[in-house]
């Protein structure tokens, strides 16, 4: 979190990249490459840039100055004098500029380009792409957990890659144009167009360079985050057995006590042992999900494909979770339609886990009414596992996100509805592994229906 802030938010706090940039800046200034540090800093402030961006802007001015034979001072003054100085559109694209009806201008680190109007669409795509990246940066800055951060970084890395490809595409297309033509076009422009062109070129140049710098920083962060996540998953996968054994022992003894195997209990003792059982069931569900996520990420889950009785799925889930449903006065009901064969093929343990997660999720988010489990055939080749509740439901805009790891409707929900936020993401991952499809239909305040459809010939 702190590093992100340094990188993107606290404009004048120094990151390692910035320190290196300052050193380069000072060396270049001493060696006379930069004519006026003062001018550059002023321009940077005027354009709302941070130090790194200012330095990159300077490098751009130096390049441009070489290109159009203006002095550094003249370029900075030109930019400063504009009645309508270009405003940043996003952190990466400051301006897209149309010189006249036929041309648009773009700067690159080494030269100024004028593109045919045909390329406007591509420039627009770069702008759009950078807006997407902007969105992800904001999400990244707000992200809490390392895992969430890694997922966002991965998405951003892909987006930045796409943007870089598009920028390269733009530059490559230009490379086939004759340089004389470019200069001719540029020379034929009027003074104000030339000024606008300069401004646009410098600022687009900044955006291109920034995207590169940011991507390199991001790649490093991503590598670190991915490695941290991998180590964590490995540790969890390794200690999986050690975690499960004591929880199973606690659950076993509690069940024996609860059933009176060790003798009758007083009412208070019975209440206490029920609470122990309920909490152990919840803890076990969470631990199983965490461990399975680690195992899935490590590629350690090997699916079985054996015949099993569908009734087993329902019975096991019912016996494990009924105690949770009873506590909330919910009815936990089930149905297997008559067309379902007595034996289906698949990995019964993983299917049990899918059903366990769907049902415990339904119980968690239902305050009154019922939770219904159903196994039925969708057609000759497919069967489905379905869980319907009468709970709080999921708003349409959130329905796509519910399968993301660690997601809950809002953060306050984590406290209200205890849990790791992993259940549904495990359901999705396991269903994907088995070649199954998940369908969700839900209405806020009415309830939700989760359906997982599997092929009769389950994928091995």
């Amino acid at each position: 979190m702190t590093n992100k802030r340094h990188l993107l938010a606290n404009r004048w706090m120094l990151t390692p990249v910035e320190i290196i940039a300052i050193v380069v800046f000072v060396v270049l200034t001493i060696s006379g490459v930069f004519v006026s540090v003062q001018d550059a800093l002023q321009l940077g402030r005027a354009l709302n840039l941070n130090l790194t961006q200012t330095i990159i802007l300077n490098q751009g001015i130096v390049n441009l100055q070489r290109e159009v034979q203006l002095t550094h001072n003249e370029v900075t003054r030109l930019l400063g004098r504009l009645d309508n100085p270009p405003k940043p559109i996003t952190r990466f694209v400051f301006v897209k500029i149309q010189v006249n009806n036929l041309s648009i201008a773009v700067g690159s680190p080494t030269r100024t380009y004028i593109f045919a109007k045909d390329d406007l669409a591509l420039v627009q795509e770069i702008v759009d792409q950078s807006a997407v990246i902007e969105h992800w940066i904001t999400t990244w800055e707000k992200s809490g957990s390392t895992t969430q951060e890694t997922a966002i970084l991965k998405t951003m890395d892909t987006q930045l890659g796409t943007m870089e490809t598009k920028i390269k595409q733009l530059v490559d297309r230009q490379a086939i144009l004759q340089r004389e033509e470019i200069i001719q076009t540029r020379d034929s422009l009027g003074a104000s167009q030339r000024t606008t062109l300069l401004a646009g070129s410098v600022l687009l140049l900044v955006s291109i360079a920034l995207a590169g710098v940011f991507r390199r920083t991001l790649t490093l962060r991503l590598q670190q985050a991915v490695e941290a996540d991998r180590l964590k998953s490995q540790l969890l996968a390794n200690v999986s057995h050690e975690f499960r054994t004591p929880i199973n022992a606690i659950q076993g003894y509690s069940q024996l006590l609860n059933e009176g195997t060790y003798g009758g209990l007083t009412d208070k003792q019975q209440t206490a042992i029920r609470r122990i059982l309920i909490n152990t069931t919840q803890l076990k569900g969470m631990v199983n999900n965490l461990l399975d996520r680690a195992q899935i990420e490590q590629g350690r889950i090997i699916l079985q494909n054996e015949p099993f009785a569908p009734i087993e799925l329902i019975e096991t889930t019912h016996s494990a979770l009924n105690i949770l449903a009873e506590t909330k006065n919910l009815e936990l009901t089930s149905e297997i339609t008559s067309d379902v064969p007595a034996r289906l093929n698949g990995d019964v343990l993983r299917l049990q886990q899918i059903l366990f997660n769907l049902v415990s999720n339904a119980i968690k988010f239902t305050e009154s009414g019922s939770v219904h489990m159903r196994i039925y055939l969708t057609d000759q080749e497919h069967w489905a596992l379905q869980v319907t509740d009468t709970g709080i439901g999921i708003p349409l805009e959130a329905q796509e996100q519910v399968f993301a790891p660690f997601w809950q409707i809002d953060n306050s929900a984590t406290r209200q509805y205890r849990g790791s936020g992993l259940g549904l993401s495990i359901v999705k991952q396991l269903a994907d592994l088995m070649g199954g499809n998940i369908d969700l239909s839900s209405q806020p305040e009415k309830g939700s229906t989760f359906t997982v459809i599997f092929s009769m010939e389950t994928k091995r």
């Binding site: 659950q251 076993g252 069940q255 016996s319």
Partner: protein, 129 residues
């Protein structure tokens, strides 16, 4: 009628206690053996109605014990139940057992099973006194 004997071959102390208590509650006599070597020794002397067999055991593996059981004539009528968390291993050995219980085994699951085994045992004992 004597109570049928359930031999629990399991190295986890808690798990063997839970299995034992659950089976006793349903009318079995139980004996716990915590390692493979003791299990092999013990199996020469007794003919339990049920054997609950863990596969990962110290000294002698569950697979070896399975071989021993099948080679011992007086254990021909014994119901052999494998209990393991290793689904892959279980699949390989399932043909050699009457039942495979994948751990974690819930107490209610175990008690259901015990009731059925007890009925079977009673039926076979009244048929062949």
């Amino acid at each position: 009628m004597n109570k049928p004997l359930a031999l629990i071959i399991e190295d986890d102390f808690d798990l063997s206690e839970i299995f034992s208590t659950a089976l006793q509650g349903d009318g079995f006599e139980t004996e716990i053996v915590p390692d493979g070597k003791t299990a092999i020794d013990r199996l020469t002397g007794i003919a339990p109605a049920v054997i609950l067999l863990d596969l990962h055991l110290p000294q002698v593996s569950g697979a070896t014990i399975l071989e021993k059981i099948h080679a011992t004539e007086k254990l021909a009528k014994t119901a052999v139940i494998i209990t393991t968390a290793d689904a892959q291993l279980a699949v390989g050995l399932r043909s050699q057992a009457d039942l495979v219980l994948l751990k974690p085994v819930s107490v209610s699951q175990l008690r259901e099973l015990a009731k059925r085994l007890l009925l079977n045992w009673q039926a076979s004992h009244s048929a062949n006194p």
